[in-house]
């Protein structure tokens, strides 16, 4: 069983690593978590982002939530903010798409256009 004492060790380790985090300060992944987003599958998408960020040991990225973005039929939606770049909105998200977004966009700064609103519309035309 997990004990509260283990947290002291984690705290020390985390505080040490906090001083090293400077690379991607300001990068934010925002998941739409209103009723429409949650019903469409936002929770597994959010957890997939956390998992991928941890797996790749990426520092300085904040994963957070927002309410209804306003286009409920395209949920789950995720907005990615990279410092110095325009916001990119991913639509119809699934946990399978997360690894590619993290590798291509968060790490290498190249948005995955085919998962964005524009990309999805092109696919449907």
């Amino acid at each position: 069983m997990k004990s509260l004492q283990e947290l002291e060790e984690i705290r020390k380790k985390t505080l040490e690593s906090l001083y090293l985090r400077k690379d991607r300060a300001g990068t934010r992944i925002v998941v739409g978590m209103a009723t429409c987003g949650i019903a469409a599958g936002a929770r597994p998408v959010l957890l997939a982002f956390l998992e991928e960020i941890k797996k790749r040991n990426i520092k300085d990225v904040t994963v957070t939530q927002t309410g209804c973005i306003g286009v409920c039929r395209l949920e789950p939606m995720v907005e990615v903010y990279l410092p110095g770049q325009e916001k990119v909105t991913y639509v119809n998200m699934t946990p399978d798409k997360v690894a590619r977004i993290v590798a291509q966009h968060i790490v290498n700064g190249q948005p995955v256009t085919e998962y964005t609103i524009g990309g999805q519309q092109k696919k449907n035309d």
Partner: protein, 182 residues
């Protein structure tokens, strides 16, 4: 919604929107009385009586992005579909208590789902809000309180990956021990 843990994740968003800083989620699997009870209690800004009456109406919302507010009506409908019910007690400026119950053994009752994933998602997105989670089944009681964790890890956000990992294991282990199969 596929299960109750997703409904709970959704209902707690209302508490967060009401600027709550402390949110208690209680799940009680009461086999003796054949009831599954979920309570969400917050210290947010609360609602006046008129607003409380309106929140079960799907065409009432305080938001401007759309004209519907489906969180509470969906949960209320899910409860009523199998003979349960939902009620809200709120005091303006004090906070809100939402209580919903389902007949535990009803064939149409949605499964409880993954409460550990719901609690983790809430902490990640709201690391400054305190969550108190109490879950009781005929096999025992499990308590989780972010205020206790915060005391052990001062100056560190609960959203840090290693802290979240610890919380996830703690929740999974604790909930497994008392698992009542809801």
């Amino acid at each position: 919604m596929e299960d109750l843990s997703l409904h709970i994740l959704d209902i707690v968003q209302n508490s967060i929107a009401a600027m709550a800083k402390e949110i208690r989620i209680a799940v009680k699997e009461d086999e003796l009385n054949d009831k599954l009870i979920v309570i969400v209690e917050d210290n947010g800004k609360g609602m006046d009586e008129e607003t409380v009456k309106k929140v079960v109406d799907p065409f009432y919302t305080t938001r401007a992005t759309r004209k519907v507010g489906l969180g509470v009506p969906l949960l209320s409908a899910a409860a009523e579909a199998c003979g349960g019910s939902l009620r809200i007690n709120s005091k303006f400026g004090k906070g809100t208590i939402l209580e919903v119950w389902f007949p535990l053994s009803h064939i149409d009752r949605p499964p409880l789902g993954n409460m550990a994933d719901t609690i983790i998602s809430l902490i990640v997105c709201n690391p400054d809000v305190d969550f108190i989670y109490e879950h009781s089944t005929p096999r025992g009681k499990f308590d989780f309180d972010t205020r206790l964790i915060r005391k052990e890890v001062p100056h560190v956000s609960l959203g840090e990956p290693d802290i979240l990992d610890w919380i996830r294991s703690y929740l999974s282990e604790g909930l497994n021990e008392i698992s009542g199969g809801a």
